[in-house]
Amino acid sequence: MGIKIKSMKKNDFRDNDTLELFKQSGGNVLITTLDEIVNWGRSNSIWPLTFATSCCGIEMMATGASRHDFARFGIEVYRASPRQADVIVVAGTIVRKMAPVLKRLYDQMSDPKYVIAMGACAVSGGPFYYNTYSVVRGVEHVIPVDVYVPGCPPRPEALLYGVMQLQRKIKSETMRLTRDRDREYAEGTIPPKFKLSKEEDHE
């Protein structure tokens, strides 16, 4: 009634083309072709880990169920073990007690591994940003994130869009180079600034 959503021209609503700019141009014909094959395979069979801490987990279940069915896009089988999973969809709030567990889960996953931060809590702490003593304000303080899906909770369509963005990102990878993110994570320069205790920084 009183609410109007400003309409957007179709032309303005483009997919995130900047991802393609990451793509390394030039190089060996054989390797780039091989890259494409490998990336095609990887991006169309992303297996998520069943990791849901709170409300967003229900929307993640709804995304996997009858109406929305994200198996259409190859993100198919929920894996209970991190060792078999390719992507961890962090669905819900991460609190300080859970943060070391999440980090351990991420470390147990085999490369290449991807992270989708689903929902306001995983993106930034969301509704639990102020005045609370136990919430980690954004999962990026614990593990590096590939795709952020905002919303509280995001609609299943939003998660699907996020997954498709991840697929685009995977398609622009090359196997010659280690991803900057993985290297930085191994070196310990990311994740930044999160403190698990007053005395020592989070390792």
């Binding site: 709170s54 819900g92 003593y133």
Partner: protein, 373 residues
């Protein structure tokens, strides 16, 4: 001979197994440390706090209309009902009488929410027992309710539709028709649930006589909701301490006396029928009128204590407010049903096999953010 001794020694050995916090059948981030003798559970120790967000502490620096949004995020599957508890507590404190129309809409929304919650429980309970088909059937039907919510509240899961004094917005013009269509559809579909799972031999074997709790123990452990009513504990707040329109509608308190997982299962299936009955009695009679009472822009509760109990999908949900006369509560305590229900898990699972622990956990229908708050 050798095999016998080997198996015998395995059966006698004592183990301690850690389940969770990341485990597919703990419905979130519950962590159970299970002591076993062979396959038999000797002790279950729940470790909580992996999703403790300090909501009660946050509430102490928030105004009452703001806290409504936090109550959604406790038991996200009965978001409407949790909102209802806080709104009622504030309204009772201010002695505001909400319009009849609001009471009708709130009661209908609560019951729709209860059905949606039990549908999701049915999905996950089936999955816990290894029946994946339930997942697709249950969530298929749940989407119809979510569509109804979405039309009126603008959100699928966390609605924050109730405000102190009334509702955020009026219902969608097509609300009544959509609800009636859904009830017609669901009356046809719910017997399918029975055909698919209730009569199943494996399901019966895995739930009958498993996870027993007597009525006295249930009361002592504060076991409420469908879990308590499965043991014959008449604890339906809607019946015994009625709020909204529950004293005017005709419905039965579903009671089973066996106290096992199957009884808890049957209570929930029965409640879905009762909820439909309540909705049918109300849906045609929604009176015209305002969708909210006149409230002041800044809500300040008079000094004192206020407690409101409501029947959420998993049991009794309570809000305790201690006000010092300001805009924010001095102390706000949320009595969550799952917290008390979980405290009995050691008693329920003891002397059963470890596989039954999953079935028992499923029959309690735990929502972990509600436990940890």
């Amino acid at each position: 001979m050798i095999e016998d001794t080997v198996i015998g020694s395995i059966e006698q050995q004592e183990y301690t197994i850690n389940m969770g916090p990341q485990h597919p059948s703990t419905h979130g981030v519950l962590r159970l440390v299970v002591s076993l003798k062979g396959e038999i559970v000797t002790q279950v120790k729940p470790h909580l706090g992996y999703i403790h967000r300090g909501i009660e502490k946050m509430s102490e620096s928030m105004t009452y209309p703001q806290i409504v949004h936090l109550t959604d995020r406790l038991d996200y599957l009965s978001a409407h009902i949790n909102n209802h508890a806080l709104c009622l507590a504030v309204e009772n404190a201010l002695q505001v009488e909400v319009p009849e129309r609001v009471k009708y809409i709130r009661t209908i929304m609560d019951e729709l929410n209860r059905i949606a919650s039990h549908q999701l429980w049915w999905c996950s309970f089936g999955m816990d027992l290894g029946a994946l088909t339930c997942f697709f059937y249950g969530l298929r039907d749940r989407e119809y309710i979510l569509d109804i919510f979405e039309e009126s509240c603008g959100s699928r899961l966390l609605h924050s539709y109730y405000t102190p004094g009334g509702l955020m917005k009026d219902i969608h013009p097509g609300f009544q028709k959509r609800v009636k269509d859904f009830i017609k559809y669901f009356r046809k579909v719910l017997p399918e649930y029975d055909q698919l799972l209730t009569g199943n031999v494996i399901m019966q074997e895995r739930t009958r006589g498993i996870g027993n709790i007597t009525k006295e123990e249930a009361i002592s452990y504060g076991f409420t909701g469908p879990s308590g009513r499965g043991s014959g504990f008449a604890c339906d707040v809607r019946k015994h301490h009625p709020y909204a329109l529950y004293d005017k509608v005709d419905f039965q308190e579903v009671l089973y006396h066996e106290g096992d997982s199957l009884a808890r299962y049957q209570v929930r299936i029965g409640e879905m029928w009762e909820s439909m009955k309540i909705i049918e009695q109300l849906i045609d009679n929604i009176p015209e009128g305002d969708y909210s009472a006149k409230m002041k822009a800044v809500i300040k509760l008079p000094e004192g204590e206020y407690y409101q109990r409501v029947e959420a999908a998993r049991g009794e949900f309570g809000v305790y407010i201690l006000s010092d006369g300001g805009k924010t509560p001095y102390r706000l305590k949320l009595r969550s049903p799952n917290f008390s229900n979980l405290s009995a898990i050691d008693l329920l699972a003891r002397n059963f096999k470890i596989a039954d622990l999953i079935a028992i956990g499923g029959s309690l229908d735990l929502v972990i953010p509600d436990i940890d708050r």
